[in-house]
Each structure stands twice: as structure tokens, then as C-alpha cells.
């Protein structure tokens, strides 16, 4: 995490930018190299938001770097515009628009598919620049004669030349770029970016429109790239066509990996190392073209052994030192007296617009078939307001499939699902969660690289801000009511004392409770729990049963569970599924006496 002290990072950045031109030349940096580092650093800020924060590794950022650069250079060299600043802004907008178009195509897939598609699309941009558009872009000659900026204020006019004034021009934009990026990563949107990197399915399940957020990150990266491309033209007085090449994208990726992703400053550090080695190895060691071989080897070794880059490595080192000093905080256990906590987390305030009578959730004749196999056959199911319903059934009864259809993770082959009188069949999981229906998973679905508190913040943000909101510059602690909701959720599940521990270091029972807390923090009016007691020790089991008793007040709960004792203790009504169909429904007493149920579980032996 970046420091919590306000403006510390910004202040240090400003200091560093002022000091750099005095220090770096003594280390053997050419002045022009320092300017280039800033351009790469700025280019990399956007890329880091995309890759380091959101987890989307694009090998096609050259497309936007080139687009921004050539749009700005074209406007300036053809005298369509005299203001360099205005041309840079228009170039940035052009790159952002290209980012929207490319993002819509590329983000249809994830992982390596995404990487390949971005490469291919960036190559298309390169070919477009090189041939069909060469009348405007100069083809393989690029656009020479890009002017340097001139600022006029009344009678006073200042012309940015080379040397210090050019450095200052670049440094100011790098500073603005980093300040904006810091705001973005500290905003609610930034938090959701990290959640998407860690577990996109869960980010969707707690109610965030993941696709839109990914596109947002993509467009931010494109805009940064476009601006940096424009600056490249201004810096060199010439817009080179190699801005569009695969090499450019590759260099950006490598620099970010060298410096460390997810840090914002990684790309700057990586560019410093890269360009320094280039100059140093070529001039001092007379390695000539072999410098890139050395660099490639350094890079491979770094990826193998220092997977989080130089900054990540330093941070791990600092973490090791700090961990020795920090005493461990004990787990407080689940709150038994959770009255106060309950009052504030209570079910959704926002969503209960009108009083509603009738069942909260209703499934009408839902059937699911996979090829020839019918997993669920014509199930009718209704849950009343405030009820705690148990669903049981032998293995293979179709409970999981049924549950997935209730939360819209899977669409039924036929039948409807009605929530609060509204047909939700075929809706997106995030939209359904926003209506007040969510679930906790049988296998923990957490945001592994975040702390416990940050995990809950992600879920609470969905409830506070809706599916999608572009509050990029709002500080996350300014989201109204967020803090209280997070604290009371933490208290409710009894994890308050462990709030700042990374999820990876939690015990299994704690992770299980966090899993439930994630669903709770979205303030659902109907909560579906998929085997909440799976894999628990007797002690953890007793605590979780208590927790379920606490959270049921004011909520409607549906629990799928294999632990019969717990179900019969908790539930008011029980639904039994068998071989994909509804077998019985009734109070625990009725179910216990039901001979059909006994037969299903015990194969008819106990019926006698």
C-alpha cells in the first residue's frame, strides 16, 4: 500500500523530479535520456493501472502511444493548430477513443487471449499508419518538424527550448500524471481494479459491473499512452513510426516488470534502468548491439527470481524488517452479542423501496439439462420474507445447479425465477446482487492479495455505489457510510481484530467467515449460503452456527448444507431435493418423519 500520510508520495515525487537534473548527469545520464525516461514513465503509469492494478497484461499499448503521438504531430506539423498543449490534449482524446474501440473487442477475452488480441490489433495500427494512412502520417518516414511549445500570458511569452526548459516541461506533466494516477488508485474505482485482478468472478458476484471497470482501466491506459506519445513527438521534434511497433509495447512491458508492477513508479524505475544500461553498455563497455542481449538476460533473471520487480523486492525486504517488530493480534472470535452491529448492517436500506407481500424468491418450474443429462427437473420453490430455509439432498441431487440458477450464475433451460415480484431470469449476476440477492460460496472466493478489511470494502462499495460509477478522483474514505458498514460487518463476523491482515495469512476458519462477510457486506435482503460449514472443525462449526443465528435477524436466508444437525437446528422449513427433482418440503419435524426422505437417504432400510 502506498503511504497513508497525505501528500507524502506526491511531495517526494516533486522533490525527486526537481533533484533529478542535478544528480543524474553526474551518474552518466545524457540530458536527453532523462527526458526520455519521463516519457516512458508517463506511458507506463497508465499501463501499470491496466496491468499492475487491474491484472490485464496488454502487449499492444503501442497502438495508443502511436495514435496520440501522430494525431498531435499531424495537427502541429500541418499548421492546423498552433497550441502544442491543445494538440496534445486532442491526441490524448484520440488515443482514448481508440482505446474504447479496441477495448470493446479485446476485453471479450481474458488472459493469454487478451494478450494475443492486443498484439494483433496493435500490429494493425502499425500497418494502417505505414500504408493506407501514409499520406497523413508520413508512412515509414514519420512526421518531422514537430514544434516545441510556447506559452503566452499577456505580453509575457515563454518558449520551451531544449535542455532545462524541456526537462521542466516533461517533469511538470509527469508530476500531473502521477498525482492523477495516485488519486485514481486510491479511489473506489482503484480498489475495484485490484479486486478484479484478484478475483473477477467474485467482484462480479458482489455487484460490480466488471466489464465496464475493465474498459475504464483500458481507456485510462490508452489516454496516458496517447499523451506520452504526443510528448515523444515534442521532445524529439519528430514523430517516429516505430512508436507503433511491437518493440515499443514490449519495451514498456519489460520496463514495468523490471521496476515492479502495481506501484505506479515501477515503469519509471524500469525505464531508468533500461535507458541507463543502453547508454552505459554501449558507450562505456563498447558492447555495441550486444547491450540488448545483456538487458534480455537481466530481464529473464528478474522475472525468474524477483517476480515483483525491483520495487516489489525492496518492499518485501522492508516488510521482512517490519514484520519482526509487529506483535500478532489475536482473533476475537465471532461476536455473540451482535445487537449493535446488527442494527447498522441490517438488510439493505436502499433497496426496500416499496413494501412487498408474497414470497421473496420464487422459482417456477425450473429445469436445467446439460446435453442429455437433466440436473434439475421442473422445480417449484418459494421462500417467504424472514424465513430461514434449509436445502438438503444426497450427493448428486442437483443442489449446486439449483443454487447457481437462483443467483443467475447459470441460466435455467426453462422456467422463471422471480425475486421480489420481479422476473430475474437471465439477468447478470452483478445486477441481481444489486437487487439484494447474493450468495456465499462453497469454495472460498476471496480477493487474495488484499487485506481482510479491503475485501469487505470491495463488497460494501458495490452496495454504496451501485454496479458502475466513475468516481475516479474521489477518495475511498469519502464514500458516505462505507466505514461504518465495513466496521459493523467486521464486528458481526468477529474479525475486527484481524482487519489489516492479508487474506493469504488467515486461518481456514477465518477465511470461511470472511467468505460469509463478503456476501453480508453487500447488504442482501436474501442471502444464499452454499455449505457454510464445509470443512470446519467442531469449534469453528459451533461458532459459525452462532453467526448464522445472528445474521438471520431481519434477513431471509437459504442454506444448502450437508451437516444435518446444523440444518435441523437452524432451519424453519426444509426443502429436500432428490435426483434433480423436489422430493419433500416441510418443517424439520415433518421432514424427519417423511418416509420418502428416509428412503432417499438410507435406501429404505430405516423405513421399517
Amino acid at each position: 500500500m502506498l503511504s497513508h500520510r497525505p501528500f507524502l508520495v506526491e511531495g517526494l515525487t516533486a522533490l525527486g523530479l526537481v533533484a533529478a537534473p542535478f544528480i543524474l548527469p553526474h551518474l552518466g545520464f545524457a540530458p536527453n535520456t532523462v527526458d526520455q525516461i519521463l516519457v516512458w514513465g508517463l506511458f507506463g503509469i497508465g499501463f501499470d493501472i491496466l496491468y499492475g492494478y487491474t491484472g490485464l497484461l496488454s502487449f499492444g499499448q503501442s497502438a495508443f502511444y502511436g495514435t496520440g503521438g501522430f494525431v498531435a504531430a499531424y495537427l502541429l506539423t500541418n499548421n492546423l493548430m498552433s497550441s502544442v498543449m491543445l494538440a496534445l490534449v486532442i491526441g490524448t482524446i484520440g488515443a482514448a477513443i481508440a482505446g474504447i474501440a479496441v477495448g470493446i473487442v479485446a476485453l471479450r477475452r481474458t488472459g493469454i487471449y487478451f494478450a494475443m488480441i492486443t498484439v494483433a490489433i496493435a500490429e494493425m495500427f502499425f500497418f494502417l499508419e505505414n500504408n493506407p494512412l501514409s499520406a497523413w502520417t508520413g508512412g515509414e518516414n514519420g512526421l518531422p518538424g514537430v514544434p516545441t511549445p510556447r506559452f503566452t500570458l499577456g505580453h509575457f511569452s515563454y518558449h520551451v527550448g531544449t535542455g532545462v526548459s524541456m526537462y521542466a516541461f516533461m517533469a511538470v506533466f509527469y508530476f500531473i500524471g502521477i498525482v492523477l494516477a495516485l488519486r485514481i488508485v486510491r479511489s473506489p474505482v482503484g480498489a475495484i481494479f485490484s479486486a478484479i485482478r484478484d478475483n473477477p468472478q467474485r467482484a462480479r458476484a458482489v455487484g460490480h459491473a466488471v466489464g465496464f471497470y475493465k474498459l475504464t482501466a483500458f481507456v485510462i491506459a490508452a489516454a496516458y499512452a496517447g499523451f506520452a506519445g504526443g510528448l515523444l513527438g515534442v521532445l524529439q521534434g519528430f514523430m517516429p513510426p516505430d512508436a507503433f511497433t511491437f518493440d515499443t509495447s514490449g519495451q514498456l512491458v519489460m520496463q514495468t516488470a523490471i521496476g515492479g508492477g502495481g506501484t505506479l513508479f515501477g515503469p519509471l524505475l524500469g525505464a531508468t534502468v533500461w535507458l541507463y544500461l543502453r547508454d552505459f553498455l554501449q558507450t562505456t563497455f563498447h558492447l555495441g548491439a550486444a547491450w540488448k542481449l545483456v538487458l534480455g538476460l537481466v530481464f529473464v533473471l528478474l522475472v525468474c527470481f524477483l517476480r515483483r520487480g525491483l520495487i516489489g523486492g525492496l518492499r518485501d525486504l522492508a516488510g521482512l524488517v517490519a514484520a519482526r517488530r509487529q506483535p500478532a493480534i489475536a482473533d476475537t472470535g465471532p461476536a455473540t452479542d451482535a445487537g449493535a452491529a446488527l442494527a447498522s448492517v441490517g438488510p439493505s436500506r436502499r433497496r426496500q423501496e416499496q413494501p412487498f407481500s408474497g414470497p421473496v424468491l420464487e422459482a417456477r418450474g425450473i429445469t436445467k439439462s446439460f446435453g442429455g443429462i437433466i440436473a434439475n427437473r421442473n422445480i417449484d420453490f418459494a421462500v417467504e420474507q424472514g424465513e430461514l430455509r434449509g436445502i438438503i439432498g444426497p450427493n448428486g441431487a442437483g443442489k449446486s445447479t439449483f443454487f447457481k440458477m437462483l443467483t443467475c450464475e447459470m441460466a435455467p433451460s426453462s422456467g422463471r425465477i422471480i425475486f421480489h415480484g420481479r422476473d430475474i431470469t437471465g439477468m447478470n449476476v452483478d445486477a441481481v446482487c444489486q437487487l439484494g440477492l447474493t450468495k456465499s460460496y462453497q469454495v472460498n472466493q476471496l480477493f487474495a492479495r488484499l487485506t481482510l478489511r479491503e475485501n469487505i470494502v470491495i463488497a460494501a462499495l458495490a452496495e454504496r455505489r451501485g454496479r458502475f460509477s466513475l468516481d475516479l478522483l474521489r477518495r475511498i474514505d469519502r464514500v458516505p457510510g462505507l466505514d461504518m458498514q465495513v466496521e459493523s460487518t467486521l464486528a458481526l463476523v468477529g474479525l475486527g481484530g484481524r482487519a489489516d491482515v492479508p487474506v493469504a495469512r488467515l486461518a481456514y476458519g477465518e477465511k470461511r467467515r470472511l467468505e460469509i462477510a463478503l456476501a453480508l457486506a453487500a447488504s442482501p435482503s436474501l442471502l444464499l449460503l452454499d455449505e457454510p460449514l464445509a470443512g470446519m472443525s467442531p469449534q469453528e462449526r459451533a461458532e459459525t452456527v452462532q453467526l448464522l443465528k445472528n445474521i438471520r435477524r431481519g434477513r431471509t436466508l437459504v442454506v444448502v448444507e450437508h451437516d444435518m444437525d446444523a440444518v435441523f437446528e437452524l432451519a424453519e422449513r426444509i426443502t429436500v431435493l432428490h435426483e434433480g427433482a423436489l422430493l419433500a418440503e416441510g418443517t424439520p419435524g415433518e421432514i424427519q418423519r417423511n418416509s420418502l426422505v428416509q428412503e432417499a437417504y438410507l435406501g429404505g432400510v430405516a423405513a421399517a
Partner: protein, 291 residues
């Protein structure tokens, strides 16, 4: 001017480059399918194959030996890469795998540049395949025909290995679920090493037989790598038949578009890829859940 002979000869050109692309892409796709690693050094393998063939050709003067030596060299290089580097990345995120194979690609390219310089090198086709062959109403370069036939034969051999041998059965099972294959008592790691070697060899082999058509430069793998991506995205990542279909489609697109206007051939290729992505995101012969 579009004339019948012109059109037919472009159709043949498309077939030749399509068969080559199919061969290279099938290497990429079986590595990905089996190991789950997208090898960004695949373009470098193609280039390395060309240079290995060049060295062997100049040492022996025999094109046939050059092809054999080059292919054997690449299977060794591929196997070693898997053993020394790639193996340690199976449990790491896919992004790290991309980064490390990308880095390996750069190292290989720069090593070749160090050894051979940046200037292009040429390999002559074997004497019996020089010149032109009259084919009814058009005259066609003999070596292009030879390339097509060799590439098709190599694909057929690859098909036989994949679908008719024990190793192939394990590889195809590994594509479905490599964890399960391991649990059945098969040494998956050795299979992985062989698969990486075969995948690299497919690219290297294509590099050698293509060498007489183009001239060799250390950077020649970059653009091939990108075209290979397009091929597997069109055909479906991890699908061997998809790589062949995608390769042939891409070859024809490139060559038929360049008959109308060469400037648009690559652009057209990417446009088709985008279209496939919009209409059938998993690729023509890919399975929906494959990510």
C-alpha cells in the same frame, strides 16, 4: 490487373504461406494446449530454425541435411528451454509465463544478432527445386510448390504423431486435463519436455524450408509471431485442426488481398480476426470454455 492466371497463382501463394503458417501455429497451439503456456519465444524459434538450416547448409552444401540438422537442433533447444526455464513457471500466473518467454525470445534474437550480424542471409533452394514449373496456363516457381508439399507432409506427420501414437494420446489427454494425466502415473514432465521440443521444432522446421523464399534476419520472427497469434485466435487456441484451418484462411487472406492492394493485406487479416472474435469468440474450431 486481376487476371485468371494471376488469381490462380495468388491462390497458390496463399496455399504455400498458409501451409507454413499452419505448421508454425500448430507448434504454438500444441504447446499451449498441453502445457498451458503461450510461448512468446515462438517467433524466435522460427528464426532460429532458419539460421540453423543456414549454418548446416553452408557446412555441408546439402539442403536435405540442413533441414534435418535444423529440425533436430530446434527440438533440443525447445526441450532444454522447457527443462531449464519454462518448467518453473507452470504454477505461476499466466502473465509471468508471458513475460519470461518474451524475455527468452529477446535473448535468442540478440544471440543470433551477435553471432551473425543484422545483415540478411540467404539460403539457396536445392538445385532440383530451382526454376519454374509450367502448370497449364501459368508458370509457377518450383520451390513454392515444394514448400507447400513439405509443409503439408510435416503437418500430416504431426497429425499422425498426435492422433495415432501413445505419446499423442497422452498429449491430447493432457490438453483436456494434465493434472489427471499425472495422477494416472504418467510422467507428465517428460511429456511436457517432448511437447515443447516438438512445438519448437514445428516452428524451426518452417523456418528452414521458408529460408530460400525469404532472406534471414534476426528480427524475422516478430511479424511471424503476430501472424501466428491471428491464426490461432481465428482457429481456436489449443486446437490442432483449428491451427491448420486458421493458417490456410490467413494465408489466403494475405495473398488474395495483396493481389488487390498489398498495403491492405495485413489490415484485412486483422479485420477478419476481429470479425471472428465478435461472432465466435472461442475461434472457429475452439471450445467455448478454453481461456
Amino acid at each position: 490487373m486481376i487476371t485468371w492466371p494471376n488469381f490462380v497463382s495468388q491462390l497458390f501463394n496463399g496455399l504455400a504461406s498458409g501451409a507454413l503458417l499452419a505448421l508454425i501455429s500448430s507448434g504454438l497451439t500444441i504447446i499451449y494446449g498441453t502445457l498451458g503456456v503461450l510461448n512468446l519465444a515462438h517467433g524466435a524459434m522460427f528464426m532460429l530454425g532458419g539460421y540453423a538450416g543456414y549454418v548446416a547448409y553452408h557446412a555441408t552444401g546439402s539442403f536435405t541435411i540442413a533441414v534435418i540438422v535444423g529440425a533436430a537442433f530446434l527440438i533440443v533447444v525447445g526441450g532444454l528451454l522447457e527443462l531449464v526455464v519454462v518448467r518453473h513457471f507452470y504454477s505461476r500466473p499466466p502473465e509471468d509465463q508471458l513475460l519470461v518467454t518474451f524475455g527468452i525470445g529477446i535473448v535468442i534474437v540478440e544471440l543470433v544478432r551477435l553471432g551473425f550480424g543484422s545483415l540478411s542471409k540467404t539460403v539457396l533452394p536445392p538445385s532440383w527445386a530451382m526454376g519454374v514449373t509450367p502448370m497449364g496456363f501459368l508458370i509457377y516457381p518450383t520451390y513454392r510448390i515444394v514448400v507447400t508439399v513439405i509443409a503439408a507432409a510435416a503437418l500430416a506427420v504431426l497429425y499422425l504423431v498426435l492422433y495415432r501414437t501413445r505419446l499423442g494420446m497422452i498429449v491430447r489427454a493432457g490438453i483436456e486435463d494434465s493434472g489427471m494425466v499425472g495422477m494416472l502415473g504418467i510422467n507428465v514432465y517428460r511429456v511436457f519436455m517432448v511437447v515443447f521440443g516438438i512445438g519448437a521444432m514445428a516452428a524451426g522446421f518452417a523456418g528452414i524450408i521458408n529460408a530460400p523464399v525469404v532472406s534471414l534476419t534476426p528480427d524475422m520472427g516478430d511479424s511471424i509471431l503476430v501472424e501466428t497469434f491471428v491464426v490461432v485466435v481465428i482457429g481456436g487456441v489449443g486446437s490442432f485442426p483449428g491451427a491448420i484451418l486458421g493458417g490456410l484462411i490467413s494465408g489466403e487472406i494475405l495473398s488474395l488481398t495483396s493481389m488487390i492492394d498489398p498495403a491492405y493485406s495485413e489490415v484485412m487479416l486483422f479485420a477478419v480476426m476481429t470479425l471472428v472474435l465478435m461472432l465466435r469468440p472461442q475461434g472457429l474450431l475452439g471450445m467455448p470454455s478454453r481461456e
